[in-house]
């Protein structure tokens, strides 16, 4: 069943739930997964995002999300100016993808911590989003839950160690998916969970042998 506050909501800055609120959420997702404020962002807009994005403020909305704003922040229209003040370098341009949802964005971001990431995400309507690709690996999650993305080696037993740490932290897994580009390569495992994952538990997971990196998205409180 749909949450009634998805019907009456979100509380958002206009004009479009898909082209504005959803776009903010894509930017926020990129920032959260990067783990810090980006210093550089290359934003590619596909389809309807490219064609009507300017009039809908899609470009400003994604940048606002990268700055950490929520969809109801009245500073969203001023995000370019704020990004400039904070030294964020921006390049926004149309892209053409094959067989992609009309509201797709590809964000290449580099953070203050030197870390870089490429994120492909879609605004599916009503302000809801779906992440489709991280650094070239196909994934599938929506940010409806607190989400932990773990990059780890493709070795037997790794998953059981990961889930044990979550279990120790009393975190319940709602959905889980393994995404591997090739056998023996890196795996991206996505955990969508019901409880917030405490920093200590995230640290313990990061220290598990075979874990190469982890990113965490905490769902916004509405």
């Amino acid at each position: 069943m749909l949450d009634i506050f998805d019907i009456l909501g979100p509380v958002m800055v206009g004009p479009s739930s898909s082209h504005t609120a959803g776009a903010v959420r894509i930017g926020r997702m990129a920032r959260a997964l990067l783990g810090c404020q980006p210093v550089e962002a290359d934003i590619g807009l596909h389809g309807s995002f490219a064609e009507t994005g300017k009039g809908h403020g899609t470009d400003r909305a994604i940048v606002a999300g990268l700055l950490g704003m929520e969809p109801d922040n009245l500073d969203i229209p001023r995000s370019f100016e704020i990004a400039r003040q904070q030294g964020m370098e921006l390049c926004i341009h149309p892209i053409q993808l094959r067989e992609a949802h009309p509201n797709t964005a590809v964000l290449k971001v580099r953070g203050t911590n030197g870390r870089a990431m490429v994120l492909r995400a879609v605004s599916v309507g009503g302000g809801r989003i779906r992440v489709e690709e991280i650094d070239g690996t196909a994934v599938h999650f929506a940010g409806d839950y607190h989400t932990l993305v773990v990059r780890h080696k493709d070795i037997p037993g790794e998953l059981s160690v990961l889930t044990r740490e979550l279990s120790n932290a009393k975190v319940n897994i709602a959905n889980m998916s393994l995404n591997r580009s090739r056998r023996g390569g890196d795996v991206l495992t996505v955990f969508e969970v019901d409880q917030k994952i405490p920093p200590v538990a995230r640290q313990l997971i990061a220290e598990i042998p075979g874990v190469e990196g982890l990113t965490y998205y905490e769902k916004e409180d509405a």
Partner: protein, 291 residues
């Protein structure tokens, strides 16, 4: 229970003697595992945002395209001259729908209800009653639960996105939610809420989504007015004892079916309708040359 059908909610309300809004609230508590206090607080926050979207309107603002803005102020000024054809409530309703729709186009804060394009309908019918002291905050919050339950049913059985079902799915659904909210607020029965919803959806069935240059401006903003006015007439009919001959869930299913049959050109793609009039094409070209 799930909010899968109007008949289901009406039966649950009649069976337990609870009002319609209470059934929706109880379902929310079950579904999200929150307390009544938490849920009500979130609804109050939503209502406050709706109210603010009306109060912070500025008739000087224009949208990025330059097409939207100022009409709410024109309606206000006209109403003040006392020459309007419609009565005081309806004048406020029209002005409020325009204010919120224009605020949305000008990147101000609104509540999607159920979508951003249709965000003016519910505040248009509720805020003037609240401002005139004819509805308390408690009554408004209850009406909003009724509205959200109706929206959840429509979303489940049909759709609420213009891209999926045309404007009938956005303004039509918002109008149905507003009609039910008004009946609820005026103490109508669960069954009367159902009739108001059915009538409101029927009256806007087939409305296409054809935004000029793909923007949530023309004709979206003024369609919020028609959604609100339609809601009021349907609420009054239902409260008068007038019934929809077609059962409400059948009307909702039918709206979904009509939506699926609408050509893709008339479902938010801006490839048909008003979007491809000479004016529509001119605006699109102008926007493209500027970007």
């Amino acid at each position: 229970m799930a909010l899968d059908g109007m008949e289901e909610i009406i039966a649950a309300a009649e069976g337990t003697g609870r009002p319609f809004w209470q059934v929706v609230l109880d379902t929310d508590l079950e579904e999200r595992g929150v307390t009544a206090r938490d849920s009500l607080e979130k609804m109050r926050h939503t209502w406050q945002a709706m109210l603010e979207s009306v109060l912070t309107y500025d008739g000087q603002r224009r949208s990025l395209s330059g097409l939207a803005g100022g009409d709410g102020a024109l309606m206000d000024a006209y109403a003040q001259k006392g020459e309007a054809l419609c009565g005081a409530y309806l004048q406020r309703v029209i002005a409020t729908a325009l204010r919120v729709g224009e605020s949305n186009a000008c990147m101000r804060k609104i509540v999607a209800a159920p979508t951003a394009g249709s965000c003016g309908v519910l505040p248009a019918v509720l805020v003037p009653l609240y401002q005139a002291g004819k509805a308390s905050e408690e009554m408004v919050l209850q009406a909003l639960y009724t509205a959200s339950g109706i929206g959840a049913v429509i979303s489940h059985r049909a759709c609420i996105a213009g891209a999926a079902g045309g404007c009938q799915a956005e303004i039509g659904s918002a109008s149905a939610m507003a009609a039910g909210a008004l009946v609820s607020l005026r103490g109508g029965s669960p069954r009367q809420i159902g009739h108001a919803v059915a009538m409101a959806l029927k009256n806007l069935m087939g409305l296409v989504c054809d935004p000029v240059a793909g923007l949530v401006e023309v004709p979206c903003i003024k369609r919020n007015v028609v959604g609100a006015v339609n809601a009021i007439s349907c609420a009054d009919m239902a409260l008068a004892g007038i019934e929809s001959r077609v059962p409400v869930d059948e009307v909702i299913d039918c709206m979904g079916e009509v939506g699926r049959r609408l050509p893709v050109e008339l479902r938010e793609t801006s490839l048909g309708g008003l979007a491809v009039t000479p004016f529509g094409k001119m605006v699109k070209e102008k926007m493209e040359s500027e970007s």
